[in-house]
Amino acid sequence: MQIELLLFGIVADLIGENSLKLNLNTTTSVRDFKSYLTSKYPQLKNYTTYAVAINETYANDDAMIVEHDVIALIPPVSGG
């Protein structure tokens, strides 16, 4: 299944992209998706302090990612 991954701030710098299309084998939890990302992008190994949003809403580790979701990696925010 295909999903879109959006990257921001320092996470975009670490991965070197602002957005990616990823093909996942199956529906997956946010927790497992984070492990998958760390194996695919070892530069994330030392950077785990990001939150995850699914379709523009914050998601916890147990939330499920399904086909066509838009996932965003949200490093600590610093607006204002």
Binding site: E56, Y58, V77, S78
Partner: protein, 140 residues
């Protein structure tokens, strides 16, 4: 009646627009927080700040904060406006305006709104120094 004004903009923010939005004959006070770009951080001289946002989600999160403010505090109207793009020293990245019948609720609501914005709204600032640049708060 619409009591909420949310804006994420690459244009210069307008204090007057926020004030005029929240102004109301039934209010007895208006509290406005204005964030400004500071020329130093941790002893280093800052040249400019670059704000980037996850636009659609940032707008949603600001809307959620505004709704929570109206529910939690005895206030009438709220405007939350945030800028994105490159800002210079003294420029305004954020304005929060709240009107209320009485001042205490207006102060409290305004503080709650800016504190929550800084925790939840997906906007990031990059500080530009003479000798480089850094994402603020990236390693908390």
């Amino acid at each position: 009646m619409n009591n909420i004004s949310i804006k994420l903009s690459t244009e210069k923010l307008s204090l007057k627009e926020c004030y005029d939005f929240v102004d109301n004959p039934t209010c007895g006070g208006i509290d406005i927080f204005v964030g400004t770009v500071r020329n130093h951080t941790k002893g280093k001289s800052v040249k400019k700040l670059d704000f980037s946002a996850y636009g659609p989600m940032a707008v949603k999160e600001m809307q959620l904060i505004a709704e929570k403010v109206l529910e939690k505090f005895d206030v009438l109207k709220i405007a939350i406006h945030h800028a994105e793009g490159m800002l210079q020293i003294g420029d305004i990245p954020v304005i929060i305006a709240v009107s209320a019948a009485h001042r205490v609720a207006a102060f409290e609501a305004c503080q709650f709104a800016i504190d929550t914005l800084k925790e939840t709204v997906p906007i990031w600032k990059k500080e530009h120094f003479e000798d480089g640049e850094v994402w603020v708060n990236a390693h908390p």
